[in-house]
Symmetry: C2
Subunit: 205 residues, 2 copies
């Protein structure tokens, strides 16, 4: 693409550094900003800069937070003996939306992925082990996505926790509620049969 302006080219280039945004999409977004009042661009850039420069992470669960200790960790009504291990803030939001979980979280900030150069030291794993050492935690629930990286991360943490008297569990994999069996993939369907639960338990919720 040949641009008639260096300023435009530079803005498109920076915009296209975002994941899933190609050159054409970037140009469309940038031209949109040019057609809008200047204030829209200023609001956007100020919001991004302020967020990037001043955002805090909860010192206990590493979730994004505006204060030292996030709302969930500082809530006395939540069960501090239960810790759910998730990848990032989106997973916390998804689980909170279900209103089914009353424990705390531990946000890893990623998954172990040697191909991308992400090792255990790049994630918030050691602080989880420290929590385990303290004796406060009774059960750790793994809620990472079931990919190779997720499974690797689960297993790494599992091995680290073995030394302590802590129950570990993983969220149930199976057919989604409302899904037709015939369209489910074989691995999921296979697991849902292997890990079947007593019928009475399914009546509870």
């Amino acid at each position: 693409m040949e641009f008639s302006s260096k300023l435009l080219e530079n803005a498109v280039y920076e915009m296209s550094q975002l994941p899933g945004v190609g050159k054409r999409t970037a140009l469309r977004l940038v031209l949109h900003l040019l057609r809008q009042p200047e204030s829209q661009t200023h609001h956007l850039t100020e919001a991004l800069n302020t967020m990037r420069d001043t955002i805090k992470f909860c010192k206990k669960c590493h979730n994004i937070s505006d204060v030292e200790l996030c709302e969930i960790c500082s809530n006395p009504n939540r069960d501090a003996s239960l810790v759910c291990v998730v990848e990032d803030v989106r997973d916390v939001m998804a689980i909170e939306n279900t209103s089914q979980y009353r424990g705390l979280y531990h946000v890893l900030g990623g998954k172990i992925s040697p191909l991308d150069g992400v090792g255990p030291q790049d994630l918030n794993i050691y602080s989880l082990i420290d929590k385990a050492k303290s004796g406060e935690v009774k059960e750790v629930i793994f809620a990472l996505s079931s990919t190779m990286e997720g499974d690797t991360t689960n297993f790494y943490i599992y091995r680290q926790l073995e030394a302590y008297d802590i129950k570990t569990s993983t969220i149930a994999r199976g057919i989604s509620v409302g899904d037709e069996l015939e369209y489910a993939d074989e691995v999921t369907l296979g697991r849902s049969i292997l890990h079947r639960i007593p019928f009475e338990n399914s009546l509870k919720s």
Copy 2:
């Protein structure tokens, strides 16, 4: 969506004001910026601010430019008697890429669209009429998209230019090069038959 941080929520809100970017995509983009070094966010916001605040439009053709008179308008090798009317800078880039056009452009900045509240006074139409008055222009080529708004805009300009001794033309609509006839839509195929050209002419390029 419930956010654990006002800063995050604000950044996601501003990001989701961009066209085609929903709340979920905005959150994904913002979290990506949080994982990257701060410099990436600063480069992005600076590029956007600089562009929005200091970008110029060519005083002759209204194309985006870093200088008063854009490269195309200031090129003495281009035919100033030929003016191609387009909607925005993307159309200029697309036509320039063909290397088939040696005239100048006139960027309208949109199309007449009463439903969106865009009238002739919101577009760069009067400066086109001024060009026509000056006697410099011999032919005006309409290259707007063939939607109702595009056709309306073409016709409006056509009526304004009638008073002057200027040839008007519109880019050819027809079956794309390499396309199969059976998959073409009826309107396009119909027009391509109606506006057929002498066979010898098709051998030229």
